[in-house]
């Protein structure tokens, strides 16, 4: 083998390593739909709570949303032909979102049943929690769009402290729209583009 051919062979090995490492780390998970699902669930719960005056509106809607998400995840996992590998980034993100879900499921019903629930406190705490979780995810993924989503929730949480009930509801509705629905649709578009790119590369 000539020196030039050997050099090309070595460079080929180096680019193989780089491309395979990138392939392994590439996250092909799609989570945009969960943002939309929870955004719609929040809207349903708010509408039911305000119009229907049902004290169980939030508990029932959140439980149904959680069951629906689990059913969709189970169905998607069943449809997969090959099991995707677990990555440290994927596990980190899923663990902080799971922790958020548990915190919310414990804290908000407790606030409600203890009689210490006010819309302002709820939006402030939910905003801070969602802001923190989105920010942590964005830092792991190095995704600025999700950091913007975190800012939406942080601002909503802080602003809620200075509002009356009507203003607080408007702030919450706006935060859900931008932080859940708009961001969720944007994430779904990004995921769809990435899948198409991968299909073209394959």
């Amino acid at each position: 083998m000539t020196a030039n051919a050997e050099e090309l062979e070595l460079k080929d090995r180096l680019s193989l390593i780089e491309s395979m490492i990138a392939e392994g780390r590439r996250t092909t998970e799609s989570w945009g739909w969960t943002f939309v699902l929870w955004g719609v669930a929040y809207y349903v719960a708010i509408a039911w709570d305000i119009l229907g005056h049902n004290p169980w509106a939030w508990v029932i809607t959140m439980t149904i949303a959680w069951l629906l998400m689990m059913a969709i995840l189970w169905y998607k996992a069943k449809q997969q032909t090959e099991k995707k590998p677990s990555t440290r980034a994927g596990r980190s993100i899923s663990s902080i979102w799971t922790a958020l879900g548990i915190s919310m499921m414990l804290l908000f019903p407790a606030m409600g049943f203890s009689g210490r629930f006010t819309p302002q406190t709820f939006v402030a705490v939910a905003g801070a929690m969602l802001g923190m979780t989105n920010a942590a995810s964005s830092m792991i993924l190095k995704w600025k769009a999700q950091l913007a989503c975190a800012v939406v929730w942080w601002v909503a949480g802080a602003v809620a402290c200075f509002t009356n009930v009507t203003q607080c509801t408007i702030v919450f509705l706006a935060a859900i729209f931008f932080g859940q629905i708009v961001f969720g649709i944007y994430a779904m578009i990004c995921e769809s583009r990435r899948r198409n790119q991968e299909a073209n590369h394959a």
Binding site: A3, E6, E7, L10, K11, R13, L14, L16, I17, E18, M20, I21, A22, E23, G24, R25, T81, E82, K83, K84, P85, S86, T87, R88, R91
Partner: protein, 100 residues
Amino acid sequence: MPELPELNPVIHGKLRLALLSLLVGVEEAEFTWLRAKTGSTDGNLGAQLLKLEEAGYVTVEKKFVQRKPQSIYRITEGGRAALTEYVRALKQLLGGAIGA
């Protein structure tokens, strides 16, 4: 003139190199995923993974999930160190080739 390093022959095989590079980016991976990513046949992939396993660079966990066999592969600390050393040697060799 400094002596040029030798490349680890266990890792130098193209498929074995691809497998170690894939595994270094994930915590664990299933046989079918590795097959899809490398485009290799079952037989060849199994043989190359066995060589990596014998060298102590990967570990395998075989189990049954819903009555289907599943082989989960993980890179070991030794495998990680060997790949790092291989890349270092490769870069040194390429540096020598560029400098020549």
